[in-house]
Assembly symmetry: C2
């Protein structure tokens, strides 16, 4: 039963050329989780009556199930539709700086498992292939799930990825530069492979389940050890010609500044990235520390740590002001480990944004100034986004 369902679903989700109304409804369900008939009609552009008929057929063939959703507050639970969780699963893999993390989820957007494997820094591809394959096999055994219903594997990578799936220079994974992700993983996993860089995946997670649900245009700004981000326009994540759209960490902050690993001088990341912060803490405050400890210390009142985060916020706001002048988005989602500092980071960031950007909230009375919110997934946004790649069919490598 589950296998037959899986075959139906694969056909409808993976064959991009089939632009039938049924396939559009199934893709909307896959991309959005539990949704109402009206939401599906809005997303697909189909008439409500057409959507109802299709949902009826899909329920009869067990591809779709009815679920109750409850909005915050009082009121009756609303009826929504979701793909049958038994119809398929999706795996997201983070190729991180020092870990490989794997999340297994079903097509109804339930997380079944979330495992992290530590790796030494600068790990090489060959060891990862075996670990990933082994871990995925075990997860399917452990949860008694049919591997045949795995719809695809999404990869979130610390570094830019070309549209064809090759890891580009500038990646935080030096041993992976030039690697073709599909050529590496498809023969082993025998499943469709999806990939995008980890900040783009983070944006997808915030769009699907986090701080930017139903927001068609926003910018994700990620302040972690490195600085990166993503641009979402008309509901789609921009990848860029070489996969480097949203690399805000390499906006030139000072053209006479220190040399950056990217080959430019004075990049934003050198002033407000987590590595710059811990370096300074070590040099000036004589404390060997991690980014998480700096944030924790600042929140607990340590004035040295607090100042480091405030100064990072000031510089970050200047860089973001350029992004605002260029893109004028209605929403910034501030993400990454540094965002855990909350207002200690956000207050100076917003002040310098306002000072250096074109459209100032002082001069626009009608709500045109952007909102700044902290992301919902500060810990596992990238891996959740890798799951989302498969569910939203973004970054499919062919």
């Amino acid at each position: 039963m589950a296998n037959m369902l899986g075959d139906d679903l694969k056909g409808l989700l993976n064959e991009r050329q089939i632009d039938t109304p049924v396939a559009r409804v199934v893709r909307a369900l896959s991309g959005h989780g539990a949704v109402s008939t009206s939401q599906i009609a809005r997303t697909t552009g189909l008439a409500r009556s057409t959507v109802s008929t299709i949902l009826g057929d899909l329920r009869r063939s067990a591809l779709v199930v009815e679920v109750e959703t409850r909005s915050p507050g009082l009121g009756r639970p609303a009826l929504a539709h979701s793909l049958n969780p038994e119809a398929g699963t999706s795996v997201g893999v983070l190729l991180g700086l020092r870990e490989v993390r794997i999340i297994l989820a079903d097509v109804a957007h339930n997380v079944i498992s979330d495992v992290s494997m530590p790796f030494e820094r600068d790990y090489a591809p060959d060891r990862v292939i075996r670990s990933v394959k082994h871990t995925i096999d075990n997860l399917y055994k452990e949860h008694s799930l049919p591997f045949s219903n795995l719809l695809g594997v999404g990869f979130a990578v610390s570094g830019p990825i070309s549209p064809a799936g090759r890891i580009m220079p500038g990646s935080m994974l030096p041993n992976w530069v030039g690697v073709d992700l599909r050529a590496l993983f498809e023969p082993v996993l025998q499943k469709p492979i999806f990939a995008d860089n980890e900040s783009h995946c983070a944006a997808l997670a915030e769009m699907m389940w986090g701080a930017a649900i139903d927001v068609e245009d926003f910018v994700l700004f990620k302040l972690d050890l490195g600085v990166g981000g993503a641009i979402v326009a008309n509901g789609r994540i921009l990848t860029g010609a070489a996969g480097t759209a949203g690399e805000f960490g390499h906006i030139v902050h000072d053209p006479q500044g220190p040399l950056c690993r990217c080959g430019n001088r004075g990049c934003l990341e050198l002033y407000c990235g987590g590595s710059a912060i811990t370096d300074l803490a070590e040099k000036r405050l004589r404390r060997t520390t991690s980014l998480a400890e700096v944030v924790k210390g600042a929140l607990a009142g340590d004035i040295g740590y607090r100042r480091l985060i405030e100064d990072a916020g000031e510089v970050a706001g200047r860089g973001l002001a350029m992004v605002g002048t260029i893109l004028n988005p209605p929403l910034f989602v501030i993400s990454g480990g540094l965002a855990e500092a909350g207002e200690i980071l956000l207050a100076p960031l917003k002040t310098s944004y306002e000072r250096y950007t074109l459209t100032k909230s002082q001069s626009t009375s009608d709500g045109f100034a952007p909102r700044f919110v902290v992301g919902r997934f500060l810990d596992n946004d990238n891996t959740m986004g890798a799951v989302g790649l498969v569910l939203r069919h973004h970054g499919r490598l062919t």
Copy 2:
């Protein structure tokens, strides 16, 4: 006959909620001019056979005509389809710095008339309303066209426009700030009103007929008296929350630089805009001149004028390098009066772009470096784009 056609066309083009296959085909024809069956199938996502059937029906009702198109070179002319030129017309209006320009075109994308009316600088709205109405009426009389078949009027404005059609602070037309374009023109013209800022319109013209045909992602960079631009992502022009997306002239070039009219310091426009260039020519070279004369002089070998343009190119390239780092587009269309200088501008611009941007052509061997081309419409891109607003149904004010 023409009137009946016009009514049919209006229904299919203007009612956004009707997402029928027929409406999709008609919109593809309106947006693209003369196109083949396969191109329509690609644009609409409909099956080729469905498109053929629909085109047959539309030809029988005279809404569509067959035309021959000839690609450059040898070979038989290809058969394409276009909307019947008698089925409708569209008007584009430029509200420029010192002129109001009006282009009348039919739905087959033929320009019927192109008139320019000089206005004194800082002209006020009330005089323009009457002129526009009067000129449009006369054009329809002169060409014996039924006014009833006018599908809409598009406005290209020197300055940002809010999504609701209000002219925003920062406009080059100080007397128009706060003006609601729809409230102003709809009662007089009694037609659907479309509007966007002139650089966004310029991008539309380059997409429809110019240097970026069939390019889904590009950046238009306009170097004229002011500096502006537009971002096209997935085939759509980004407007931004306050209408200021693409205002590249206000990227901060030097945070300690001179005050800009926007309220920031050291904006890019103050270093590479045409006004900055003619100001310097006057102060340092002691010559009162226009941007066109500077460009003409430089092309003729004047070393002072040449240096002014080269220096502007260097600064412009730095600003564009930030746009490249943030967006990573595959194509830059360089537009505006300064682009007439060709390589005198482009050579230093590309050199400094390469120096300051993240994805350098030196480090990417696989064609990921962006192309730079000069726009096709350096003179009337904005007014042509205003016509395009109506044909592409972009920027409709409701």
